[in-house]
């Protein structure tokens, strides 16, 4: 048994298991709430319940006052839902967040291509227009797989009837294996979306640095195509990381854009190029390419990171040591079932990274 908890003002939705605290569920599902002590004595995680019933748990009477209990305040680190909930937390809504409603769609597969030896590009025709912000993702229901799987949208928002996804085959991954081996053109799948807080902060005028790894090119592809289509004049940099030339997909697309647009710069990086590929570009990890390109000075930019957790982690360190900080770093981590295995103690230093 689990409950659905909507976190206002961002509208993020989390699933909370019976007996699980709201904070625990939120942090595990990538939704940041303010917190410190984690055991009901400090009140940093105080939230307002707008709708629904909650067990207050072991909130200290000094951290959650009687008058606050009467007003429907709870401590997220102790509170356990007893119904579906709407809570309001002390978190900021991004002014660039459009808040398009999540809807259900049926997608019919129109095309499947091998982008690289491990990544397929799958294109669907949707049964209705989907409004989304470039960078957001959809949830896909895959036959025989419990729950849903998240994939970032690779097409630009103006192609609102189409849905392009980049799917990397995950070893022993039930969902991606089915998509790679069983999905056929003409099949239909249930899709819901758009989700996520990863999108271009267009109100910010600083140059945009995109760092993408593996199939994490999908979101940046959508974001960059969208910006260039709108005639965005800021400097845009795409660092694309891959193992070798065969894995460096959609290279021609971005090389052509680099030629056409003076403000777009494409910098691919390969960490293990094959001898026979005659690679003359950057050799090394993608964050190292960014350090070299910017001579370790990133301030005055916005950075958008998309890819597997180790790449994101290395990129954040590179950016921060090059003086670009949390408020200017946005990211989408591509987690697989294997990534959740190792739980780490987190400090409260950073909110989102």
């Amino acid at each position: 048994m689990s409950y659905e908890v909507t976190v206002e003002p961002t509208g993020d939705v989390i699933e909370v298991e019976e007996g699980q605290t709201i904070l625990d569920a939120a942090l595990r599902q990538g939704v940041w709430l303010p917190f410190a002590c984690g055991h009901g004595t400090c009140a940093t995680c105080k939230c307002q319940v707008v709708e629904g019933d909650v067990d207050l748990g072991n909130a200290s009477p000094f951290a959650l006052m009687d008058m606050e209990r009467d007003e429907g305040k709870v401590l997220a680190c102790c509170a356990m839902p007893e119904s579906d909930l709407v809570i309001e937390a002390d978190i900021d809504v991004d002014p660039d967040f459009a808040g398009y409603p999540v809807r259900d769609f049926v997608g019919t597969v129109t095309d499947i291509v091998d982008l690289s030896p491990t990544i397929k590009g799958i294109t669907f025709a949707l049964d209705d227009d989907m409004e989304f912000q470039a960078g957001q993702y959809v949830n896909l229901r895959i036959p025989g797989v419990e729950g849903t799987r998240a994939f970032s949208i690779a097409n630009k928002p103006s192609d609102s009837r189409a849905l392009e996804l980049h799917v990397r085959l995950v070893a022993n991954g039930a969902g991606t294996t089915w998509l790679h081996e069983s999905l056929q053109v003409g099949d239909t799948l249930d899709v819901s979306g758009p989700y996520g807080q990863f999108f271009v902060r267009k109100s910010d005028e600083q140059g945009a640095i995109f760092i993408a790894g593996g199939s994490g090119l999908s979101s940046p592809q959508s974001m960059i195509l969208d910006m260039l289509e709108e005639g965005d004049k800021r400097e845009i940099y795409l660092f694309q990381g891959a193992r070798n030339v065969a894995e460096l997909y959609n290279r021609e697309l971005f090389e052509a854009l680099d030629q056409q647009h003076a403000n777009f710069h494409y910098i691919p990086a390969l960490n293990e190029p094959q001898e026979d590929e005659n690679w003359t570009g950057f050799k090394g990890f993608v964050h190292e390419a960014a350090i070299k390109y910017f001579d370790n000075h990133f301030s005055g930019h916005k950075a958008y990171l998309c890819g597997p957790p180790p790449m994101i982690d290395a990129a954040i360190t590179a950016l921060m040591q090059g003086r670009l900080f949390e408020r200017d770093i946005h990211m989408e981590r591509f987690l697989t079932a294997a990534d959740g295995a190792e739980e780490q103690t987190r400090s409260a230093l950073f909110k989102r990274i």
């Binding site: 940093t44 951290a63 006052m65 921060m320 103690t345 400090s347």
Partner: protein, 500 residues
């Protein structure tokens, strides 16, 4: 789409007046004279993110309800003769250290945050410091009120503020805070707001307050909870300070690193006394100091420093030594107090056999090898009527002011001595950490008011130790000090409990 609701941040901004103002006819640098002299560069105070958003109105409302609850419990504790429900009169001696050593630090924190808040050009930091300052004043008041009940029934609690200013071992916590308060505003914030509040107070408030609960002291547990509800704000302020400094300018990074090195070392030295309270002074044990250290410092602090590494901050200097010290410091400290028990404002004792076994179990690598034999010897001597008190006054470390009781961590039979010569005089230190701190700011630390030096210079009365204890420290000699065995505290307890 419906109009977006205001989030708490916007509400806070709209509901509070902007307390800042432009300096149109005065020089701004003269209004904030200490903002630049430490070398810290602030380029944009508007990047300060309010670590908590509490209006003054809400603040008073919350604190008033906390006080109501707290004092109701104090009253109930007093009316029910709560002092009779504690585990053992030995426990109260930990409270004596708390009241003379820790509560006055809360008062120093109140003064320090009031002063420091005034020095910041950014309004967000000023308001946050102001609230913390008022919190700290509340903490010292509630602690004094909580412990005043014990003062009616036990010795050694009667003159805590006088003792804090004069007694030899209390110069350790006092000089720690004096050092922080005599520093610039940003160093104060890194020292107290970040190093002490964020990383180290957890070791005081979580395991020690649990210790109070295990030993039947509901008054102390309750003020602990009440204070802990404020600590969260203090911790988030400490974190915001460190992020803000590191992000404002890259030149701040090495300065902040130096302060982190200094204040983590000073903090761990100060916590030596807490280690001893946990391992030796709580009759009912919660966890060993070593276990508390691993949970609250190594795990929590390790995660923090992993994140700080992104700013180019590394683990505090001598973290490797600190890791080894958890096996030793509580034993070395309690032995020192045991042997100086005639000069302490609280009682000391030999651990019971069960307690010695517990220590052997908790410290399998060190206790039996280095420390148990001493206690076995002390037991033999006591049985012969020769309870040992040292005749000598200890040599003190010029930086932390702790007696030279720490050993080399790779050879726990060798006391660790370091020294530096400055302007022709030799200064002594307990460790490389304390020597480095001196070498970095010798003009500050040559002024250390070292209790033993002061005694030998004749500034504390005397000439005998007993004269100093009685006249200068205002201890009740023969009552407040010496072993718990045969003390008036013990005799009264036996009478209350009806045991011979």
């Amino acid at each position: 789409m419906a109009a977006k609701k205001l989030n708490i941040k916007d509400k806070y901004r709209l509901l509070t007046r902007d307390l800042d103002w432009e300096f149109s006819y005065q020089d701004r640098n003269k209004a904030f004279p200490f903002e630049e002299f430490e070398g810290i560069k602030i380029t944009d105070w508007s990047k300060w993110e309010d670590p908590f958003r509490l209006t003054m109105d809400a603040y008073w409302k919350y604190q008033a309800e906390k006080e109501r609850k707290l004092y109701a419990i104090f009253d109930a504790f007093a009316q029910n003769n709560g002092q009779l429900n504690i585990s053992d009169p030995r426990y109260v001696n930990a409270l004596k250290i708390f009241l003379t050593g820790v509560s006055p630090l809360e008062y120093q924190a109140f003064q320090g945050f009031a002063h420091t808040g005034r020095q910041f050009g950014g309004v967000g930091a000023r308001v946050a410091c102001q609230m913390q300052s008022i919190d700290e004043l509340r903490h010292v008041q509630t602690q004094v009120h909580a412990m005043s009940h014990y003062n009616k029934f036990f010795d050694g609690l009667q003159d805590w503020s006088h003792m804090h200013d004069r007694v030899w071992y209390l110069s350790v916590p006092k000089s720690f805070f004096n050092d922080a308060r005599a520093a610039g505003p940003f160093e104060f914030m890194v020292a107290i707001g970040f190093s002490f509040e964020y990383v180290l107070t957890n070791l005081l408030f979580v395991p020690f307050m649990s210790g109070a609960a295990y030993n039947g002291d509901m008054a102390t547990v309750t003020f602990g909870f009440s204070a802990q509800s404020d600590e969260a704000r203090h911790m988030t302020l400490g974190l915001e300070v460190i992020k803000f400094l590191l992000e404002q300018h890259e030149d701040n990074v090495p300065i902040v690193q130096r302060w982190i090195d200094k204040w983590f070392w000073r903090g761990t030295r100060l916590l030596t006394i807490v280690s001893m309270m946990m391992d030796y002074m709580l009759p009912n044990k919660v966890m060993s100091w070593k276990e508390a250290w691993e949970v609250y410092f190594e795990e929590a602090g390790g995660a923090l420093f992993k994140d700080l590494a992104r700013y180019g901050i590394r683990m505090p200097k001598y973290a490797d030594i600190i890791e080894k010290e958890k096996e030793h410091v509580s034993h070395q400290a309690w032995w020192t107090f045991y042997t100086h028990g005639h000069a302490a404002g609280f009682h000391t004792w030999i651990p019971t056999d069960e307690e010695l076994d517990w220590l052997s179990e908790k410290y399998p690598d060190t206790f039996d090898k280095y420390y148990r034999p001493r206690w076995e010897l002390a037991k033999e001597m006591e049985a012969k009527g020769e309870r040992f008190y040292t005749k000598a006054l200890p040599q003190l470390c010029t930086t932390c002011q702790i007696p030279m009781l720490f050993t080399e961590m790779d050879d726990p039979t060798q006391i660790s001595y370091r020294d530096s010569i400055y302007k022709g005089d030799r200064y002594h230190f307990c460790s490389d950490g304390c020597k480095d701190i001196f070498d970095d700011e010798p003009e500050k630390f040559v002024q250390s008011w070292l209790p033993v030096h002061q005694i030998f210079q004749g500034n504390c009365g005397g000439p005998d130790v007993e004269d100093i204890l009685r006249d200068y420290y205002q201890m009740n000699v023969g009552v407040d000090n010496m072993d718990i065995k045969g003390s008036p505290d013990e005799e009264r307890w036996k009478k209350w409990k009806g045991v011979a």
